[in-house]
């Protein structure tokens, strides 16, 4: 962990955004772009469901595990979006998916490799750290 990263960050929840994200958009980048669209610097995923063309999870050894669809149903999604010091925004998302036979897999979603199949319904809640300057 970076020495400047606090172990505990106090703050409060702010606005809430709901989105329907369209087919072939990426799950991870789509959630980051939803933050851009909503003006959120930091956010938590409050709920999500939808489907992926194929799912792709990061393995412990750095390789990737692909779950073939379509469709791979997203049955749970947890995660957050954080503003990074280099000026970018990064979503870290993990969850559980079910393949076309209903068989479940889980893990960390790889950015760029989880295209939405039919729709993604996602609710984000803005996180406002106490030590952050107020947004314009």
């Amino acid at each position: 962990m970076n020495e400047h990263t606090p172990i505990i960050e106090s703050g409060q929840m702010g606005r809430v955004a709901y989105a329907r994200i369209a087919p072939n958009e990426d799950l991870v980048y789509g959630v980051e772009k939803l933050c851009l669209a909503s003006g959120f610097k930091n956010a938590f995923v409050r709920g999500a469901l939808g489907s992926l063309v194929d799912g792709c999870m990061q393995r412990m050894d750095g390789r990737q595990e692909q779950i073939k669809g379509p469709a791979v149903e997203i049955v749970s999604l947890a995660g957050e979006v954080r503003s990074v010091q280099d000026g970018s925004m990064r979503a870290s998302l993990s969850g559980v998916v079910a393949d076309p036979q209903g068989t479940v897999s889980g893990g960390v979603f790889v950015a760029g490799l989880n295209p939405i199949c039919m729709t993604l319904e996602v609710t984000l809640e803005e996180w406002l750290p106490d030590n952050d300057p107020p947004q314009p």
Binding site: A17, A22, P70, V75, A98, M118
Partner: protein, 188 residues
């Protein structure tokens, strides 16, 4: 079963949907503040009624919910394989009965149908009566809560509404956020 594949490099596939491409890729609405509620699904109720009725009494029509673990006396679900008719990319299967089910975790979106009736869209992971862990789209009207209440965290969406509208690109009806209209005539 489609076993997950260990791959050194995967490439995302872009599927071609039957309808015209919509240049608006993120349809979104924002509320200034969310309200949260802890709801208990009552034994013997359907998942649909257990969510919709108490929220209706609170005048909540649009919400995002997290359903925590518990037991169902029966649970029905669908999976989403390719549509053999090619009218859409996928089509839900007929309902599959899971029997007495351990519900592991799920999310449900509460909204309205095109004719203003309540609608619940729920995906979940669960352990079937045959002790198999499965996941999919839950048929909420025929899934019956077991003997103990099940906790749900509700995030209400107050400044806009969620309503089903036909999506020409995918050729199916989908839940989408809309501005609230006093006259109910702002459907996109």
């Amino acid at each position: 079963m489609n076993a997950p594949q260990d791959v050194p490099y995967a490439r995302a596939r872009t599927l071609v949907h039957p309808g015209p491409f919509n240049p608006i890729r993120i349809q979104t609405r924002t509320s200034q503040r969310a309200k949260h509620f802890r709801l208990l699904l009552q034994p013997g109720q359907s998942l649909f009624d257990g969510l919709v009725q108490p929220l209706k009494e609170m005048k909540i029509e649009s919400a995002s919910t997290t359903i925590l673990g518990g037991f169902f006396d029966r649970l029905s679900y669908c999976t989403a394989p390719p549509d053999p008719t090619h009218q859409a990319i996928i089509a839900y299967t007929s309902p599959i009965e899971s029997g007495k089910t351990c519900f592991i975790f799920g999310n449900a979106t509460i909204g309205k149908t095109a004719t203003d009736n309540p609608l619940v869209h729920c995906h979940a992971a669960f352990r079937t009566e045959d002790n198999v862990i499965q996941g999919g789209h839950i048929v909420t009207q025929t899934s019956i809560v077991g003997v103990r209440p099940i906790t749900v965290l509700v995030t209400s969406l107050d400044d806009f509404e969620l309503r089903v509208a036909f999506d020409p690109e995918t050729n199916i009806p989908l839940i989408q956020p809309h501005d609230i209209s006093l006259y109910g005539d702002d459907r996109e």
